[in-house]
Amino acid sequence: MKAAVVVFPGSNCDRDLAVAFERAGAKVSMIWHKDTDLPGDVDIVGIPGGFSFGDYLRCGAIAANSPICRSVVKHAERGGYVLGVCNGFQVLTETGLLPGALMRNANLKFICKPVGLEVATADSAFTAGYEKGQVLSIPVAHHDGNYNADSELLARLNGEDRVAFRYTDNPNGSVDSIAGVLSDNRRVLGMMPHPERAVDERHGGTDGVAMFRALMDQLVTA
């Protein structure tokens, strides 16, 4: 599996995400936001957490319009895999690769703690290593994780089994407790919790490991 992790000014989980991919056996390249092209043979692109461009204008808005993101959109349109975590999820909604939007947490607080996360579908390369209904412990660290979808979109996401994760105890006001959603081809996942911060005993938990392993199993072309 070949992975590329995009680095924006203000990204701060890029190296954690790279390590999580590497531990699963991937070859990882780091891609600066001003680059225009992804490596040609890349299987999955990781959009990391952090505060790209200082969260100016809206979280993820400037990053979504950076040169590399045009290539990320093309990669996804060709059927490539993309994982966006936290700010990466915000970037993916801003590019339009994922529907909905992430707003300020309902309690207006920055929330940084492990949360209970229910696997809402095991039907994706990201979640195939889990059982549907399994509850994981994965950390969140965000100020703008309040997932917003209108009733029509919500019905579509549920009808198409595209909600990947739900909070067991909704911390941020997200509609239907949604913590992560899949694209219609199930190859783009955006999620607010940080699976890459749960891949080592020293992180306090390893519930994220199965996501990277499952991706590795699915994307063994490299």
């Binding site: 204008l57 808005a61 319009n65 707003m103 947490n105 309690n107 207006l108 309040n146 917003n148 006001g173």
Partner: protein, 76 residues
């Protein structure tokens, strides 16, 4: 020429920051504040002859997230 773009959360989208401001006004003793919506104003200094359509495109592509926000443009 200048343009001023107002970006607001769409009606029906809960605005937790506006709600917090409303509560704060109430605790300062301002009664009768039934609702507060918080948005942003973006001032653009533009080359003469820039059309409203171009500014609209800027709003659609970057300045507003039309999933949750609406915008209005003032040209002068």
């Amino acid at each position: 020429m200048k343009a001023r773009v107002h970006v607001m959360l769409k009606n029906g989208v809960l605005d937790p920051q506006g709600e917090a401001v409303r509560h704060a006004l109430g605790s300062l003793g301002f009664d009768g504040v039934n609702g507060v919506r918080q948005g942003k104003v973006i001032e653009l200094d533009l080359a003469d002859g820039t059309t409203e359509d171009t500014v609209k495109e800027m709003c659609e592509k970057l300045l507003a997230n039309t999933v949750i926000e609406s915008y209005s443009i003032e040209l002068n």
